[in-house]
C-alpha cells in the first residue's frame, strides 16, 4: 500500500481491538488485509456464511458467526472493541440494516468505542446533479430502495453522533474498483470474456472512480483522525474518466472489444424481456414476505447464482446505471483531503494498471478458455 499507510499509521492500531462487518466482502476484505499489517491488533469479523471466509481466514482473525440480525451476537462481539468498521450491508431489507445499525451503535456506545466508521455510498446523492458534488449538496428525491436505505442509515448514525456522542464517521465512496470488486471489476470483465458488455449510446457521462486501496486509506484515516467525528466524507479517486473510457480499459486489458452499444430504449426493453429478470422480480417479493431470514439468504443466494451461471454473461445496465452513466457529476473530495488528510494515490491509469495484474491473475484460465 502507499505512503499514507506508512508504519506510523499501522502503529496507531497496535494494541487495538477492531470489529469489522463485511469482512468476507470486497471492501471489508481488503480493509482487514491492511489492518493485519499492524503488529499487535486484535481483529474480530462478523461472518454470516463461513463458505465465504477463504480470504479472511488467511489472517489471525476472530470470526464471529452471525448476521446483522443477531442482536446478542453483535452486542457480545462489540463489548471490548476500540474501533468499529461497519462495511456490511444486507441487501434483503433496509429495515433490517437500520435495526442492525441501531444495535451496533448502542453496543458501541456501551463499549465506549473510540470510533465507529460507517460505509455509506455515493448512491445517497442519486440521481446525481450536474456539475460538482460535495457533502453539502442536498439529497434529491428518489424511489430507489438502496439509496433510501443508505440515507436512513446515515440519519441514524448522525443522530447517534450528535445526540448520544457516538464518535461516528460516515464515508461515501464513489465507484470502487480493483481486485475482487464484484460490481465494478469482476462483472464487466466476466461479461467481456464470456458474453457481452452492453452500454447505452447515451452513456456520455463521467465516472468518479476510486481504487480500493485509496478507499481503504480513507477508512483508516477516518478511524484515526479526531476531526472526522460526526462528519460525512465523499471518497473518490484523484481524477475522473468518461464511463466509456472506464469500460474500454477493461476491454483493453482482456483484449476483447466485446462492447455493444444500444439505445437506452432498447436496453430497457431487453431488461424487461429477460426471463431470468422476470423470474427474480417475481420471486424476490415472495422470498421477502414469506420466508424466514435464514432461508431468505439461501434463496436469494440461489437466485443470484442463477443469474451468474445461466448462459453467456450479458451485462446490461439497469435503470439506475443508465442514469449514472449519463451523469456528468464531478465529485469533490476536498473535505476528505482537508479534514482526514486523505490524499488518493491512484489516478485511474495507475489503479487500472494494478487492476490489470488482478484480472490476469483471476481470469487467466477463463481468458484462455472463454
Amino acid at each position: 500500500m502507499g505512503t499514507q499507510l506508512n508504519l506510523a499509521m499501522h502503529n496507531a492500531f497496535d494494541g487495538k481491538t477492531v470489529f469489522v462487518t463485511g469482512g468476507t466482502g470486497f471492501v471489508g476484505g481488503r480493509l482487514i488485509e491492511k489492518l493485519a499489517l499492524s503488529k499487535d491488533i486484535t481483529i474480530k469479523a462478523l461472518v454470516r456464511n463461513y463458505a465465504r471466509a477463504a480470504r479472511l481466514a488467511r489472517f489471525n482473525v476472530k470470526m464471529i458467526e452471525g448476521s446483522l440480525t443477531d442482536t446478542g451476537t453483535l452486542e457480545d462481539a462489540l463489548e471490548d472493541c476500540d474501533i468499529v468498521f461497519h462495511c456490511a450491508l444486507d441487501l434483503t431489507s433496509s429495515k433490517l440494516n437500520a435495526s442492525a445499525l441501531r444495535t451496533m451503535a448502542e453496543a458501541s456506545l456501551k463499549a465506549g468505542v473510540e470510533r465507529f466508521v460507517y460505509l455509506s455510498s455515493l448512491a445517497t446523492y442519486e440521481p446525481l446533479r450536474e456539475g460538482e458534488l460535495n457533502e453539502d449538496c442536498p439529497y434529491p428525491p428518489t424511489d430507489w430502495d438502496y439509496a433510501l436505505g443508505k440515507r436512513d442509515a446515515e440519519k441514524i448514525i448522525l443522530n447517534f453522533a450528535t445526540e448520544r456522542g457516538l464518535p461516528a464517521v460516515i464515508l461515501q465512496p464513489t465507484i470502487v474498483y480493483g481486485p475482487f470488486s464484484r460490481n465494478w471489476t469482476d462483472r464487466p470483465v466476466s461479461a467481456l470474456l464470456k458474453g457481452q458488455l452492453v452500454l447505452a449510446n447515451e452513456s456520455e457521462g463521467v465516472c468518479n472512480p476510486v481504487y480500493i486501496d485509496d478507499l481503504v486509506s480513507a477508512i483508516l484515516l477516518a478511524a484515526l483522525n479526531k476531526s472526522a467525528i460526526g462528519e460525512r466524507f465523499l471518497v473518490s479517486g484523484p481524477d475522473y474518466v468518461p464511463w466509456k473510457k472506464f469500460y474500454a480499459a477493461y476491454a483493453d486489458i482482456v483484449g476483447k472489444q466485446t462492447f455493444v452499444f444500444e439505445s437506452e430504449e432498447q436496453i430497457l426493453h431487453s431488461n424487461r424481456l429477460t426471463l431470468k429478470e422476470k423470474l427474480r422480480s417475481l420471486l424476490r417479493p415472495i422470498v421477502h414476505k414469506f420466508i424466514s431470514q435464514k432461508m431468505k439468504h439461501r434463496l436469494l443466494g440461489l437466485l443470484s447464482t442463477m443469474k451468474r451461471e445461466a448462459g453467456p454473461v450479458i451485462s446490461r445496465p439497469n435503470a439506475q446505471e443508465l442514469q449514472l452513466y449519463k451523469s456528468k457529476t464531478r465529485v469533490c473530495i476536498d473535505k476528505a483531503k482537508n479534514l482526514l488528510g486523505y490524499n488518493p494515490e491512484y489516478p485511474f491509469d495507475k489503479g487500472m494498471q494494478a487492476t490489470a495484474h488482478y484480472i490476469r491473475w483471476a481470469f487467466l484460465d477463463e481468458e484462455a478458455n472463454p
Binding site: A51, R52, F59, N60, H357
Partner: protein, 367 residues
C-alpha cells in the same frame, strides 16, 4: 459378523490394481447377505452429499451415525435409515461395529481413529489422514495394535482415468514425463457448518492440505517421487487461500501445481511426455486433449477413446466397495495408510519451507 472379521487379518495380501479397475462389485458377507456394520462418524457435508448417498446406492444402511449437530444427525438418520444415532462417540455403542468412516474435522482424525482402531474397528478416514506425520504414525500404530484395516479416502484414486494415467506412466510407452502443470481452483463454496476448516490448529492448513492433498496423492502415486523446489502461499498466520508449488521428479520432470480458493482455475492436469501428452479434468475426469502415444495406450481394455464417464459420486461408491472388500476379504484398501501418511508428510514439508505468495497487484506497487 464382527467376530468373523476379527479372525481374518491378512495385511500381506497384495491386490492388483487391475482387479480394482475392473471389478467394482461388492462381495457379500459371510452369510451371503449381510454387509459389515458400518458407522459414519461426523455427518457434515461430505457425509451428507457423498458418503451416505453412496452407501444408499449400494444398499448399505449405516449401523450408526455420530454427529454433534442433533438436527443434522436426526435428519440424516431418518433419510438414510441408520440403525442408531448418537451425538457423541463416547456415548455410542460400538460393540457391533465392523467398520467406521471418520469424516470429522481434521484435528479429530487422530484421536477418534486411534480409539476405533485399537478396538479392532476397521476405519476409512477422510483426507487428509491427519494434520501431521506424527498423528499419522499414531493412527498407523493403533491400526497395527488393533489388527484393523485402515484406508484413506483419497477418492480420486478410484477414477478409472487416473488409474489409466498411472498405468500409462508406469508402462513408459509415452516415454519419460518431461513436464506437468496443474491448476486447481474454485471460489470456495463448500457449505461448511463450522469455522473448523478456517482454524489453522484444527485444519492443519488451507488449500494445500484440503483439496491439494488429493492432487499430491495422485502425483506421488503417478510419479513415485516428488521434490519441492519452491512452495509459496498467502497465509498470514491463518490458512492459505492460494498456493504455488514448483516441483521436480527424480526422473527429471519439472512441474507446477497451483491451488486457489478464490479463483476459477482450469482444474486440469497437463502431462507432457517425450512421446505424447495429455490434459484431463482433475475433478470431472474429462479428457481435454491427448497427443501421440497417449492416444494409443490401452490398459485393462480401456483406451482414452472408450474411457467411461464417471460422475463424482460414483467414485464414492467405488471407495465404499473397496472398503467393504477390505473388511470382508481382509485385504488392504486401495489407498493404504502409508499412502495417506506420505501425502501428509509432503504437505508438512511444503509448509516447513513456505515462502510468501505476493499478489501480483501488490507486488507491482512494491508493497
Amino acid at each position: 459378523m464382527k467376530s468373523l472379521i476379527k479372525t481374518t487379518h491378512a495385511h500381506t495380501r497384495s491386490k492388483s490394481l487391475k482387479s480394482v479397475f475392473l471389478s467394482g462389485t461388492l462381495p457379500k458377507g459371510s452369510n451371503g447377505t449381510q454387509l459389515p456394520g458400518l458407522a459414519v462418524i461426523g455427518c457434515g457435508q461430505i457425509a451428507e452429499s457423498c458418503l451416505l448417498p453412496a452407501m444408499l446406492e449400494i444398499g448399505w444402511r449405516p449401523a450408526l451415525l455420530v454427529e454433534k449437530d442433533s438436527t443434522q444427525l436426526h435428519k440424516l438418520a431418518k433419510q438414510f435409515g441408520a440403525a442408531a444415532a448418537c451425538e457423541t462417540i463416547d456415548k455410542a455403542d460400538l460393540s457391533d461395529l465392523d467398520g467406521a468412516i471418520v469424516s470429522l474435522p481434521n484435528h479429530l482424525h487422530e484421536p477418534v481413529c486411534c480409539e476405533l482402531l485399537k478396538q479392532g474397528i476397521h476405519v476409512l478416514v477422510e483426507k487428509p489422514m491427519a494434520r501431521t506425520s506424527d498423528e499419522c504414525a499414531s493412527i498407523i500404530a493403533a491400526a497395527q495394535s488393533g489388527k484393523a484395516q485402515l484406508g484413506v479416502a483419497h477418492v480420486y484414486r478410484f477414477r478409472k482415468l487416473n488409474q489409466w494415467i498411472h498405468a500409462l506412466i508406469k508402462s513408459g510407452i509415452a516415454g519419460p514425463v518431461k513436464r506437468f502443470d496443474i491448476r486447481v481452483g474454485n471460489p470456495f463454496s463448500w457449505p461448511v457448518k463450522s469455522a473448523s476448516i478456517w482454524n489453522k490448529h484444527q485444519s492443519g492448513g488451507g488449500a494445500l492440505i484440503d483439496v491439494g492433498v488429493h492432487v499430491i496423492d495422485l502425483l506421488l502415486w503417478w510419479f513415485n517421487d516428488l521434490n519441492i523446489i519452491e512452495y509459496l502461499d498467502d497465509s498470514e498466520s491463518g490458512v492459505e487461500a492460494e498456493c504455488h508449488l514448483t516441483l521436480s521428479t527424480d526422473n527429471g520432470a519439472s512441474g507446477v501445481l497451483e491451488l486457489s480458493r478464490t479463483r476459477q482455475l482450469r482444474n486440469t492436469v497437463i502431462i507432457d511426455c517425450e512421446k505424447g501428452s495429455l490434459e484431463v479434468g482433475i475433478f470431472d475426469g474429462s479428457i481435454i486433449r491427448a497427443k501421440g502415444a497417449a492416444c494409443e495406450f490401452s490398459y485393462a481394455d480401456t483406451m482414452l477413446s472408450n474411457m467411461p464417464d464417471e460422475p463424482w459420486n460414483t467414485l464414492f461408491v467405488y471407495e465404499l466397495k473397496d472398503f467393504a472388500n477390505a473388511i470382508l476379504e481382509s485385504h488392504p484398501p486401495l489407498v493404504s495408510p502409508s499412502d495417506g501418511a506420505r501425502a501428509v508428510a509432503f504437505v508438512e514439508s511444503c509448509y516447513s519451507q513456505r515462502k510468501p505468495y505476493i499478489y501480483p497487484w501488490d507486488l507491482k506497487e512494491g508493497a
